[in-house]
Symmetry: C2
Subunit: 140 residues, 2 copies
Amino acid sequence: MSSPSAHPKDATALERLRKAGLRPTRQRLALAKILFANGSRHVTPESLYTEAKGKRVNLSLATVYNALHDFTERGLLREISIEAGRSYFDTNTSEHHHFYYERTGKLQDVALDSVRITSLPDAPAGEKVKRVDVIIRLAR
Amino acid sequence: MSSPSAHPKDATALERLRKAGLRPTRQRLALAKILFANGSRHVTPESLYTEAKGKRVNLSLATVYNALHDFTERGLLREISIEAGRSYFDTNTSEHHHFYYERTGKLQDVALDSVRITSLPDAPAGEKVKRVDVIIRLAR
DNA sequence: AATGAATTTTAGAATAATTCTAAACGGATA
DNA sequence: TATCCGTTTAGAATTATTCTAAAATTCATT
């Protein structure tokens, strides 16, 4: 096998991991390449695992869970909870919102400025607002 | 044992179930009494099961799941998904939002009018906006 | 290139939440 | 009261996720 940096996109994945302070292991590099190759994506651990396997990446499901959590902790991903019993990870870590297609379970980004929130309650004493999630649930 | 309607609150629970088209079984009545006795509440299947057991209501966890889903389908409850792997049910079915205390996993209602949303994107073609959920995540 | 310490990966077991199954039960109606 | 059909139940099954301890890999140092 050639070294990872022989391919153009590896540099990006490698840089990302380096900047995040994560050791660029073969598995993390492969996952980062899949996740950040194109635009914004939403994956579940299972979907990412299947996709990686499909690309002949040899790794275990536990590693996918580990990587998704590590990436999230280091700010490379954002976790979204929409439905009990299924977690989603979003490669778009900037502030934004979501459409959720209830029928299919798919997520779609909604630009931050297309939802205008002009008032919010104060945070209860001793607490700070960490994030405001807006989920626009869609049905036919 | 006295008949359920011998107690004042039973009438309310009974009525609720009747109106919703749900057979007022002993288990459903007991759960409805617990859920709707006071103001707005947020329960998990497990927490409601434990609470019912504590009150000497004899039922199984599966029944709690069944009842929560039946109640939700009939509009008596609203399901909220905040965290993967845990579902919450809210006795407040009117439109409103939530504070979510990440540390403790507790939910708190936020009045509809304390969050003013002055613009929303159009629903994608073929879809309708079913609901807009705003979750204000709190941390210290 | 070899060494070694620390981190990461892995398979499989363990745990947790939820759903399923099929039998027993109970509420509604005649 | 008899019957029908929805409901409850215990326990098994399923699904999602985390844990565990051993093996492998990375990275810094020789």
